[in-house]
Symmetry: C2
Subunit: 392 residues, 2 copies
């Protein structure tokens, strides 16, 4: 069944993670995503594996076709322009100034395709003191406050979040913006330039509660960046860890029953949500002492029975075996022609009429060069010449 | 200037964070978002502040109008149906089964508005063992592997990421899916039901590199969930912390010059990227010893001069003063009629033709009840009666 983006073509010259993951979302939803890669090396991330396809690559480049074109040649640029003439969206994440040098800037491509959605993903934007700096995930984490959020309570040392959250938040933000620009074009007939800086996407993502005390200026306290003092809701059991917590009185009563500590109901420190918040450190320490006496399974069934929010803390290789993950048919397996069996999550949003799904396996470098260029009307003889000239 | 979603109306009965932040994105882009709240209490998060507007609320409910309607009454449900009859999107995040009891399930609303985009955001989905469980952020963090990613290297203890990443990732995913469903409807004329579970959104977000070693089945090692052993790229200076790192030989040479440690160029452990990766712990320890001898500003200018990726680790209240954040005009200030001056990031994606922007301040509870209901053709006498009956 066709997806919601069926019929749109996206020419994607991005590499690494943020650009490719954005166009994966569009491809899963039915867009014809053409991944343009340098002929010899391909996407930089291919080098991390002998097969050219790592676990990460297999996921974020699914639902795309790969075309190998040397963009550093005039003939290569001519091919890109032919592709763009039949496309709706062009996505690039080169450093500022690069597309102008290559001759694939907005003006050059809009001359070919007037209603193009031209998308530029950058680290820092197009102007300002940082635009020449190289962008790695830790740099955006450090600048956006993510590492400060994770600052250690005792030592005061900031910590990284050990996922490339900046890249992936940028991907989700870009995919929505591209879809909105297509929607606007559908009604106005006009294309446009959509620009997104990782720094902007991540600060916007952190801000709602991460910077809440800076939002209303008159509330701004002196100590707004102190580390969160409240201990986190993770408790060790005899065989692992669980999370649990009680907000309302009803949940607290349930928790007390599940933990068999009726004396806590009489404790003046724990009478109201405000009391319990005030004495959180002491309360969580008491809970820890009890929870460490039984197994994860025992606690989860007791807490569930009392309708107290709770969950086992899963190791990464346990997630796919979790009963709710299985009930949701979240992890799909399929065979990849080069790397064999793969497993990865299906697209999370489910559409009743226009399903998103894994449409194509992550391509080998240039797997679709011939078929895509033939669709453009390039003849077999021309293809042979382009290959001999190291253009494709 | 009209945004890309100009002309669409969204009726949003969600509360808390994931639903409201999704519709904030649509409102910034020009959709007319009508936030429907219970008349007395409003959105649950209003209770966290005397003014009814916390810092978080001020951001995620901007660009919306608030209408207070009691959905537990037949007259309230009738009003919702009148609103939906003129809307394009309806978004709800009640627990499974609730909308059926209230009479605002898909079937009921599609009878009024056949091409409606009906959106259901849930914690776990509509079937499976967890669907009756309450969903809090720590529960999804524990189940999705986020806490395992953050597991302590020395103690093995899992840790939370101290932002409500599950809610916010769900928001971004939902906003894209809703936009895609509108795009599809624009061409097919058909509405549909879009369902999104937080668990699914977050596992999909974690997976690309967080679960990469589980993606290609034949590569799956025994120890795939061991904590990341490599020390993180955060270094203490005389007056704070910086992040820096070198991937290529060129960057490593620059780093060695910036740190004035020419003997490292001769060190057999640091000759290639693979060598430096193998000896990462020792190398980072040596770097720490040097970096702790000078100030953050000194190191950043030395590293910048050598084109080595680097950044100061900013405290949260320093982010808005960073020179690139300022150059990007990222943080906008405005006056809110009830809480005074506010500051928050503008929408991160910038559209040349259909700008996204802060369109309205976060509303007081029911601020637009009268004006919105008048647009529906409800007379002043009817309004008075509805108010007398505690319906609005």
């Amino acid at each position: 069944m066709p997806g919601p983006l069926d019929g749109y073509r996206v020419v994607d010259v991005t590499q690494m993670l943020s650009g490719p993951m954005a166009t994966m979302i569009l491809g899963d939803q039915g867009a014809d995503v053409i991944k343009v890669e340098p002929p010899k090396s391909g996407d930089l991330t291919r080098a991390f594996s002998k097969s050219g396809i790592t676990g990460t690559f297999a996921m974020i480049n699914r639902s795309k076709r790969s075309v190998a074109i040397n963009l550093k040649t005039a003939a290569g640029v001519k091919l890109i322009k032919q592709l763009v003439s039949q496309a709706d969206v062009f996505v690039q994440n080169f450093r500022p100034g690069t597309v102008e040098r290559m001759g694939i800037d907005e003006e050059a491509l809009r001359a070919i395709k007037p209603d193009l959605i031209y998308v530029s993903i950058s680290g820092f934007g197009e102007s300002g003191p940082y635009i020449k700096k190289r962008v790695y995930d830790p740099v955006i984490q450090a600048l956006s406050g993510l590492t400060d959020v994770q600052r250690d309570r005792d030592t005061g040392k900031p910590h990284m979040m050990r996922l490339v959250i900046p890249d992936k938040v940028t991907s989700l933000t870009a995919a929505q913006a591209i879809t909105a620009a297509l929607l606007s074009r559908e009604r106005t007939g006009k294309g446009q330039h959509v620009r997104l800086a990782m720094l902007d996407a991540v600060v916007s993502f952190v801000w709602p509660e991460g910077m809440a005390d800076q939002t209303i200026v008159k509330n701004n306290p002196q100590n707004s960046s102190d580390p969160e003092q409240r201990p986190e809701l993770i408790f060790e059991t005899t065989d692992g860890f669980i999370t649990t917590g009680a907000m309302s009185n009803k949940e607290w009563d349930g928790l007390v029953r599940a933990l068999e500590q009726p004396q806590w109901l009489e404790d003046p420190r724990f009478q109201t949500p405000a009391d319990r918040m005030k004495h959180a450190s002491h309360r969580l320490e008491l809970m820890s002492q009890v929870i460490r006496t039984r197994s994860t399974d025992e606690w989860i069934s007791r807490l569930d029975a009392e309708e107290v929010p709770c969950a086992p803390v899963l190791r990464r290789d346990e997630v796919r075996h979790n009963e709710q993950v299985i009930a949701n048919n979240l992890i799909v397996e399929s065979d990849h022609p080069h790397v064999g069996r793969t497993r990865m999550p299906r697209p999370p949003a489910r559409f009743t009429e226009t399903p998103a799904e894994l449409r194509l396996h992550a391509p080998a470098l240039g797997e679709h060069t011939e078929s895509v260029l033939k669709e453009l009307g390039i003849t077999p003889a021309e293809l042979e010449q382009l290959e001999a000239d190291d253009i494709i």
